[in-house]
């Protein structure tokens, strides 16, 4: 049995639905990982010892264990303590927090790299430390980490395929389902790969846009 790409259009709707889920989950998780990364970074650097401890535990769990396990824990494990999340929500939370921890590391370094004269200047105007962080230090730190965070977001896109294991019909699982009907693994895996590539290009484009806007404003 040779290759037959003409079969693709017939199942395109299923694949496109998968693309939709992958994009939706990736964008939502990326936003969560970005906001979460900033919050984690500020806690790690400035919160009192007692507040830092639970976050160190979260950090350890998300950095030190497989993402697959984390998804299982959030989706299947939390049900036992009465938290029954829809699969795609569990997927967004798992991916989002996982990458928030990685983003937090980047943002912490960037915050520490902002010249301390910046904080001083804001404080001498009468700003509190929190106000100075919010308006002066963090915006500069975030600008500095856009390129490496972009890399993390590409990794997030690829790892979004893992949420298929908790039953979210994203791109990879959609491809598998079509293959289950057609027995055409090569055609549909290649098609899925092509879509991942296109999404990747779009993300790089968005990242370049953001970087350009920032470089103008410096």
């Amino acid at each position: 049995m040779g290759l037959d790409f003409s079969i693709i259009p017939k199942y395109m709707d299923i694949i496109l639905l998968g693309v939709g889920w992958t994009v939706g989950i990736t964008v939502a998780a990326a936003l969560l990982s970005f906001v979460g990364g900033i919050i984690f970074a500020v806690i790690a650097l400035y919160a009192p010892w007692l507040v830092r401890q639970p976050f160190r535990l979260i950090e350890w769990v998300f950095m030190g264990t497989p993402l697959l396990l984390q998804l299982f824990l959030i989706y299947f494990g939390l049900v036992q303590i009465g938290i029954d999340l829809p699969a795609f929500v569990a997927g967004i939370i798992g991916l989002g927090l996982h990458f928030a921890v990685y983003n937090s590391e980047l943002i912490q370094t960037a915050i520490l790299a902002v010249d301390k004269g910046q904080m001083e200047a804001a404080r001498t105007l009468g700003c509190s430390r929190a106000q100075a962080l919010r308006k002066v230090v963090i915006p500069q730190a975030v600008r500095a980490v856009i390129p490496p965070i972009g890399n993390n977001m590409i990794a997030l896109l690829k790892d979004s395929a893992l949420v298929s294991v908790i039953g979210v019909s994203e791109l990879t699982l959609s491809a598998q389902r079509v293959i289950g009907k057609t027995y055409r693994p090569f055609e549909f895996y290649i098609l899925a790969a092509a879509f991942y590539y296109v999404i990747n290009l779009c993300m790089e484009w968005v990242q370049r846009k953001i970087e350009r806007r920032i470089s103008i404003s410096r």
């Binding site: 200047a121 804001a122 001498t124 105007l125 700003c127 509190s128 106000q131 500069q140 410096r218």
Partner: protein, 256 residues
């Protein structure tokens, strides 16, 4: 405890970093509208003294009073932070390296604190920015980012930023030391203009000519003490202390 009678009153200021004593029992009074210059070699403690006035480098001993309020009073942490933040709104500071916010335009640099701390509307803040930037001759660059400005222009924006909080005291920490020689004058002119408006100023500087021309009084500091102080006409022309003479000779030779 005596009643505070001077606008700025520093009593027995003492500051140590570990075993290193940077300020040794310094007392200084500044009256409203006065301009006081502080000169001295690096490491003499002059910047530390200046930075103690708005509590950037808190003292380890002594008291600082500003317009009837003790700067470094003993308060629980939260209340102290509130007290200091409120007090700093009335004390403008200008740094050697400008410390402009690079992600904000000149306008945004000037309006950030008034908007956040005084709740100014955007329209009022814009008017304030125009007024302050005009004063320092930077109105034409109001929507420029710091990276698009020269050092002298940056420092003028930084002065406008400090003035926008309507301070009653301005602190200058070597405001022209990081500037190319040809850019010093434009900043000095702005400071002279403030002097004419009777702004109270304390100026840490390496520029003897400038100190001589604008200051009512000049202090010479060395190794954490005030060696000599007086009107510039006396201190620069007829210093009584050997250390002052030594410093001035080196400095004037070095400059020429």
């Amino acid at each position: 405890m005596t009643e505070q009678t001077h606008f700025v009153e520093i009593r027995h200021a003492q500051k140590s970093f570990g075993t290193l004593e940077v300020l040794k029992d310094i007392s200084l009074n500044v009256e409203r509208g006065q301009i006081v210059g502080i000169i001295g070699s690096s490491g003499s403690g002059k910047s530390t003294l200046l930075r103690a006035i708005n509590d950037l480098d808190p003292l380890t001993g002594g008291e600082i009073w500003l317009d009837g309020v003790q700067v470094n009073k003993t308060l629980p942490h939260r209340q102290y932070e509130k007290h200091i933040n409120e007090l700093r709104q009335h004390v403008g500071m200008v740094f050697q390296h400008f410390n402009l916010f690079p992600h904000m335009t000149a306008r945004e640099n000037v309006t950030m604190a008034p908007k956040m701390l005084k709740g100014l509307s955007q329209a009022d803040a814009d008017r304030l920015a125009e007024e302050q930037l005009d004063k320092v001759g930077m109105l034409e660059r109001i929507d420029y980012y710091p990276s698009q400005l020269s050092g002298g222009q940056k420092q003028r924006v930084a002065i406008a930023r400090a003035l926008a909080m309507k301070p009653k005291l301005m602190l200058f920490d070597e405001a022209t030391s990081a500037l190319d020689p040809e850019l010093v004058e434009e900043v000095n002119l702005v400071m002279k203009k403030l002097a004419e408006e009777h702004m109270t100023m304390i100026i840490v500087t390496h520029e003897m000519d400038f100190a001589a021309s604008v200051c009512d009084r000049v202090l010479f500091m060395d190794k954490g003490v005030v060696v000599e102080e007086g009107p510039p006409s006396v201190l620069f022309k007829n210093p009584t202390q050997n250390r002052t003479r030594e410093f001035l000779r080196k400095h004037i030779e070095g400059a020429s």
